[in-house]
Symmetry: C2
Subunit: 300 residues, 2 copies
């Protein structure tokens, strides 16, 4: 029995795909523009940054920033620097994840990882450059509150902290609360900050800011649970990465802790909660509703 | 003949040492305070950050921020977050420098380097945490301009760019302009930004901001030239690191490009220029005058 069956009727995949495509294109144009505006006289360094920045990412986080701004009738151009900044932060974190000291991955999205092509020293400097440029861009909006928001979500109480906890947890099954904590920090915090940035820069009303934060929290958790499920049930070709690797590495995952069925139920629960959080926005939030379904029903 | 002889009479070493001691103490108290205010529930990560942050640095950059604020009658408490942020950025850069992928150093200031004690993965995450926290602190002043200033000085057109150029230049003698460019970016930019931050946050008058920027530029260059000279003429024990290592590594240095005497003359010239830039401040800038002499006349 497919417990997601009822939702499949409400799901319009093409709407989300069009949304991600549009926002992705706008983001990539802006990324190119910001990099060239730097007028950095060191082409090799910029080239290395571009290698990872344009390696085929889905641009989910910038789409959340831009979509959130639209939800609050904000100005897309005003939030674009933040959208690109958050994508740079996401990219720097992937570069570090792939390094020999961490996951030691030779490939990402079918392409050799940055350190495989440019060496570890350049990979480090390129990622340092991306993280630092991200904060320059964020601050260029003139809104220091947004810089604080993103820095917190990316720092020791956010992404960096989550990665640390993940390393410490390696090879052992941690309690459920710890697993949730790891994911809230490691991926959830930046997803949430993306939505909040778009809202903050669009003078969101306080209840709306609360609602979008709640949406982000549950979206992030559903996203991660589905990721874990796909690592068990997914098709290697569609997924683009080996199935079963989590179990092999004795990683704490939702299926490992809860079993497959309960994991699916939990993903469904968070998707419902994400969608309910959008009630106050009415029809306007339709694309974010669809995005929550997309996260749940995807097969890669 | 000692070409610095005239200056030795004007130099009051104890004034600078007291200044660095005072500012260093204030900075360290604030650093401890900011780290504990984080209330980060991951003690191991904070511990690793503290290991490098409290490894006996001279706290030169925070002293420049605080001294600059005093020069412009600014509020020390208002600039303290920026002073600590810049020290965190300096520290993260040292952690990366020491990694096997870059300089592969086992010791810094007589202590094992961070990755030697905690492993490379934790060293990476701790440095990521420091850089990100630095921007949170900078933005917490509410002044986005200062965030932009520091991000530029630390990024691809500043420190990161200088480190990249330095790696590319390894093992070959580069032209004089390239050497200056490397140092302006690698160490000069953050020194300059430290002074400018203190000034910007203290509502510096435009001519004063220009003057302190000029001072910083020449101070940074003199600092680096003297470093290179000491690597040739210094005493290994006083210096705390091996003498002659630059020559051994075929590094482009001022003595290698200009010879020892001309390097000393150039250091003297930049010191004079740094001191002249302070004229508009009168007596008030005495400690910065002494600091320029200290940089020139130091033996470690």
């Amino acid at each position: 029995m497919d417990i997601f069956n009822n939702l499949r009727n409400e799901f319009h995949k093409e709407k989300v795909e069009q949304f991600l495509l549009d926002k992705g294109k706008q983001t990539e144009e802006a990324l190119h523009r910001y990099l060239s505006q730097l007028q950095c006289p060191i082409p090799g360094l910029i080239e290395a940054m571009e290698y990872s920045l344009f390696a085929g990412g889905k641009r989910l986080r910038p789409a959340l920033v831009l979509g959130s701004a639209e939800l609050f009738d904000g100005n897309i151009q005003k939030v674009m620097p933040s959208a690109c900044a958050i994508e740079m932060i996401h990219t720097y974190s992937l570069i570090h994840d792939d390094l020999p000291a961490l996951d030691n991955d030779d490939f990402r999205r079918g392409k050799p990882t940055l350190h495989k092509v440019y060496g570890e020293a350049i990979a480090l400097l390129a990622s340092d450059g991306l993280l630092t440029l991200a904060f320059e861009l964020l601050a260029s909006t003139g809104n220091a509150e947004v810089v604080v928001e993103v820095a917190r979500s990316a720092g020791v109480n956010g992404m960096v902290g989550g990665q640390y906890m993940d390393i410490i947890a390696e090879g052992k099954l941690v309690p459920m609360e710890t697993l949730q904590e790891i994911h809230r920090k490691k991926t959830g915090a930046l997803i949430c900050a993306s939505l909040r940035c778009g809202a903050l820069l669009s003078n969101a009303f306080s209840k709306g800011l609360q609602a979008i934060t709640e949406y982000g929290k549950h979206l992030g958790l559903a996203f991660q649970i589905v990721d874990d499920i796909l690592n068990v049930t997914g098709d290697e070709k569609t997924l683009g990465k080996p199935v079963g690797s989590d179990k092999e590495h004795k990683k704490s995952t939702y299926p490992a802790l809860l079993g497959l069925q309960q994991s699916q139920e939990l993903a469904l629960e968070h998707t419902h909660k994400a969608i309910s959080a959008l009630t106050c926005f009415g029809e306007k939030a339709e694309v974010f509703r669809q995005l929550a379904l997309y996260m749940l029903l995807r097969n890669h």
